[in-house]
Symmetry: C2
């Protein structure tokens, strides 16, 4: 059974020599477009409202419109493409959309990095192929109606029916189900579908209703939620939102300190729960609410992942000790909590499974990521990281699994950057040097008004390439585009006359510093893990980058500024929201939960603050 649809394509090869119109199926976004042989796939896609990036303007000299041919025939590879791709990449089907013309019906994969952000947000993390084996299964029953000669209580009546259906005791009921079952079974005229979880009735539904599951990834900044069919594994709907706790502190530490106020912990929990409930409403609307009963009552199981602080704040656990050395979690074991208890508006008897945490700053979301990427069992020397306000990094090597956590801060979210902004229309998300000129790409191709995380990363890599920055991060005053402002230097990226808000968009020394701290934190975490096992960075065979930001960054830029070690590009894998994908795997399979528990047990946590020589590693990592 396959969860993510991104890797599954039905063959639809239909080459017709004389045809001039073809159907192109763009995946994984799932758009079908009719194209003529005269328009490039870039033009065709953009005409159909698919925002493929195009920094060079479609002349084949950048790689921002990269696509991959899955099925069908395209025009011959051009010289421009041969200059950009390696032979291996070409053999793997990589092409530039601006250089490719349809010669048959096609299936084309658009990688996340070739889409501008609003569409990229829809991209799912890759997940493993798993056997569907959910915690909750349906049993349809006809219950005998009570009569004056059959005065069994409703609970005994239902249990006797289940036994007759061959369900093995011990059998019981979630307490929340007891509160509603008697009127429901009468409303359904004694013919009902019971949702059973380990011998416990967790929902009483009308006959033939599907059982649904909810997976949520609670990030420090963003939430992602998925509605799945527990029988087929299909994703029925997905949506996201900002973490409402951001109003009480941008990072984990400031939220922990807010929670020390009277009622603070409860406020943070309530706001999070309210937002999750809104996401559930959105998911149910997308999936089509049933007219007879709210579809949310069909959601009979949930898996929620997040870092340890988000996990604790969601579950109502104390976080004070997470903010004090030695930063231990209140709870590291996995939990099964009542949805009702947490006021999550799904079936009142549903359970919420929270996978185990590894340490105070490596949470269940990292476990989910290791599960979804398969990094935990990789036969290769593998680095897997999830870049966020906090970045968790794991190293798999010879059956060993090491993890650490570093405070990379919110710079990549656009915070603390002078022209910084979140990834929204008008944000510069890509900066590239083309013909010795700095070219920018904005989200939705709108006029530039600021710069988001992937853009600032690119920009600084470019500044290094054009030698406007030295290796310590100082501007080189003699560079023509470096100008003085107050007591410092800055680089003019977009002149006010070309910006969307009439202001210059500049990169300041302070911006460079923020990025140095962030990338230095990440790189030093990687180096410390490698150092623990005595491995050199060049021997890393696979480098997995998870998380929304990690999906959108340009790997060569990240290598250029020293955030990642200089490995061949094919060793990198950008996997999207792998924590969400892992949550879905655990939603659909009990076996996957066992694996997650085993991963959390196997991981050896490396505390960086006491790591020998860490100060040295960190200060080296700050340099470009």
């Amino acid at each position: 059974m396959i969860i993510a649809t991104s890797k599954v394509y039905v063959s639809t090869k239909t080459i017709m020599q004389n045809k001039t119109e073809f159907r192109v199926n763009f995946q994984p976004i799932g758009r079908r477009v009719t194209v003529t042989h005269e328009n490039s796939l870039l033009t065709a896609a953009q005409g159909a409202g698919i925002n493929i990036a195009s920094i060079c303007g479609g002349i084949g000299i950048c790689d921002s419109c990269k696509i991959r041919l899955i099925d069908g025939t395209l025009s011959e590879t051009t010289l421009e493409e041969k200059a950009i791709f390696t032979e291996y990449e070409l053999q793997s089907g990589n092409r530039l959309a601006c250089q490719s013309y349809a010669q048959s019906d096609l299936i084309i994969e658009i990688p996340p990095e070739s889409l501008t952000t609003p569409q990229r947000l829809q991209i799912e993390g890759q997940s493993q192929i798993i056997q569907i084996d959910p915690a909750v299964i349906p049993i349809e029953v006809e219950i005998q109606e009570p009569t004056i000669n059959d005065l069994r209580s409703d609970t005994v009546r239902v249990i006797d029916t289940l036994k007759l259906e061959g369900v093995k005791p011990p059998l019981g009921f979630n307490v929340s189900v007891l509160e509603i079952m008697s009127p429901l079974i009468r409303k359904y005229q004694w013919h009902t579908r019971l949702a059973m979880r380990k011998g416990e009735v967790v929902a009483v539904l009308p006959p033939s209703t599907s059982l649904l599951g909810l997976a949520v990834d609670i990030g420090t900044t963003k939430l992602a939620a998925y509605l799945c069919d527990l029988n087929s594994g299909a994703i029925l709907a997905k949506t996201g939102a900002m973490n409402p706790q951001t109003a009480f502190g941008e990072d984990v530490i400031s939220r922990i300190s807010y929670s020390n106020n009277p009622g603070g912990r409860k406020t943070l929990q309530t706001r999070l729960v309210d937002t999750i409930n809104q996401l559930i409403q959105e998911l149910c609307l997308q999936a089509g609410n049933n007219q007879h009963h709210p579809i949310s009552d069909q959601i009979v199981e949930a898996v929620i992942v997040g870092n340890t602080a988000m996990h604790h704040l969601f579950a109502g656990l104390p976080v004070h000790q997470l903010g004090m050395a030695p930063y231990v979690p209140a709870v590291s074991n996995s939990l099964e909590l009542d949805a009702n208890r947490l006021d999550i508006n799904i079936a009142p008897g549903a359970k919420i499974y929270l996978p185990p945490n590894i340490a105070g700053y490596i949470g269940a979301d990292h476990v989910a990521m290791l599960l979804a990427t398969g990094a935990w069992q990789s036969p290769k020397t593998t680095i897997a990281l999830d870049i966020g306000t906090n970045t968790e990094i794991s190293l798999a090597y010879n059956d060993q699994l090491l993890s650490c956590s570093c405070a990379s801060g919110p710079a990549f979210e656009g915070a603390h950057i002078q022209a910084g902004m979140r990834a929204a229309p008008g944000a510069i998300e890509r900066v590239q040097i083309i013909n010795n000129e700095i070219r920018t790409q904005t989200i939705d191709n709108a006029s530039p008004i600021g710069i988001c995380g992937s853009g600032i990363l690119d920009a600084i890599a470019c500044l290094r390439q054009i030698k406007a920055l030295d290796h310590r991060g100082s501007f080189i005053p003699t560079h023509p585009s470096v100008r003085q402002s107050d007591h410092n230097y800055e680089f003019l990226l977009i002149n006010y006359s070309k910006s969307g808000n009439g202001r210059d968009i500049v990169i300041t020394r302070q911006d460079v510093n923020e990025i140095q701290l962030a990338k230095g934190a990440i790189r030093s975490g990687i180096e410390a893990l490698l150092d623990t096992l005595g491995i050199s960075s060049t021997s890393v065979e696979e480098f997995i980058i998870a998380g929304a930001f990690g999906t959108y960054i340009n790997i060569p830029s990240a290598i250029e500024i020293g955030m990642f070690p200089p490995l061949p590009l094919e060793r990198f894998r950008q996997v999207g929201n792998a924590a969400g994908a892992g949550a879905r795997q655990m939603l659909l399979s009990m076996e996957q939960r066992s694996v997650a528990e085993a991963i959390a047990k196997r991981v050896k946590y490396i505390e960086l603050s006491t790591y020998p020589n860490f100060a040295n590693i960190f200060s080296k990592s700050l340099f470009f």
Copy 2:
């Protein structure tokens, strides 16, 4: 281990011939009084504030001041006493307090019926001798503090400690404990007493604190609550209150119909929970709140019994189907609910055990009563009943256990009776014919202002004795004390000149009718059970009367009016609040819970409304 203290006395025989002052230990109220040999025990007790009843004024011609000698020597039996007691009763130690003088230090038992009501309310139901074997036991632990080299989460840390102490896995935590444990173990400096329940930590307490338990009996009209030490079994405090739901309906049916209003069920539940929380506060005050932490946090387990409707309303279960034929419970199995979920203010991780229900109108309180009285395993032919707004009756015969339920109504609570009132100061609680004259006894010997249940029962028995009522319940107009009022006859019990509120206290035809319906319901239930097994009422060897009202009634009066069959008086046993006693047994012993579950399974329920020939049995039972 003995729970109720009423049957346990330490021998303190100290006869001193020349002494004129003796110490009398009055049980079960536990008052020690010094008496001289010149004062009767009645005078001595009343002088010490113990309200022993005395209808005849202490001249030995009524039995209202009956006591029982447990240890010591009293003056010789008088002729008056020989006229009142049978030889067997005298041999059993029965005496009249007004005829008895101390000749040594004494232990004297005052039976409940000899006390006026406010003191009688303190009387405990008798319970069985049981082995203490509570659900929750304490384990005192020293937990290793986290360090930079020991980053285990708090949960893992505690579980590892428990394992070292030899506690067998699987080990876990109540979710509510997880919400508070981390700050608590730090507050107690890693030295704490854990309350463990089936491998689950349910409370984290300071070192050496006692574990306490709560037992509550939720009657339709009254609540009784007990605080027990889970180690010794001792009752530390007890209290009672009116059921606040009475405001929404006097009987179960009217409350069920109130609960059909929007929010009605929740209102009834909330009011009940609020009252139970008040009772808990009172219990904790009585037992002495600890200055360092509220003693309520030491209450780590509770057992709550009540009839099926009270049980359902307390637990938040649907009751609509309880009010419609064929009146089946939503839940009959026993339940273990989280105190926290029900907002009961004891240790947040505590569980509340609700024993099984037998049928829609025979609840867990009846199971508790059968358990406490031992009726369920009686080798004799035994009737056991609990008189209330609803009366549940069981018949034990040759290993068979039959139960039925009858709507006896609130007349015995003083409702629907013209001069009716609850058992409070000034209520006539005893009526007796002494020297052909009707004499009354009021609660606290206050001026009479009304009549409570036991009084109206006595009064009607007296009216039959003096032939003021015929066997159908009609007044005989020629009787000198029967007078006409409007279109009906009535009996003047107290002239306005002697009453406390300046009004005549009368018994009306309507009052007689109410009592006829109530006693007819009870008697017909008894007869139907006997009829099911083909036993005649005279072969009943033991007749157990439980419940507050049942404790206070005068058995000969109840026989006189035909409420009970005419059995020899020694076959009757008034056991007080046996449901509360049973709840305490289940609080202190897991084995007792198993017995209760077995009792509920063994009982065969007899539905009276469809019992063949029931109309006939009932109409016969209405006659005097």
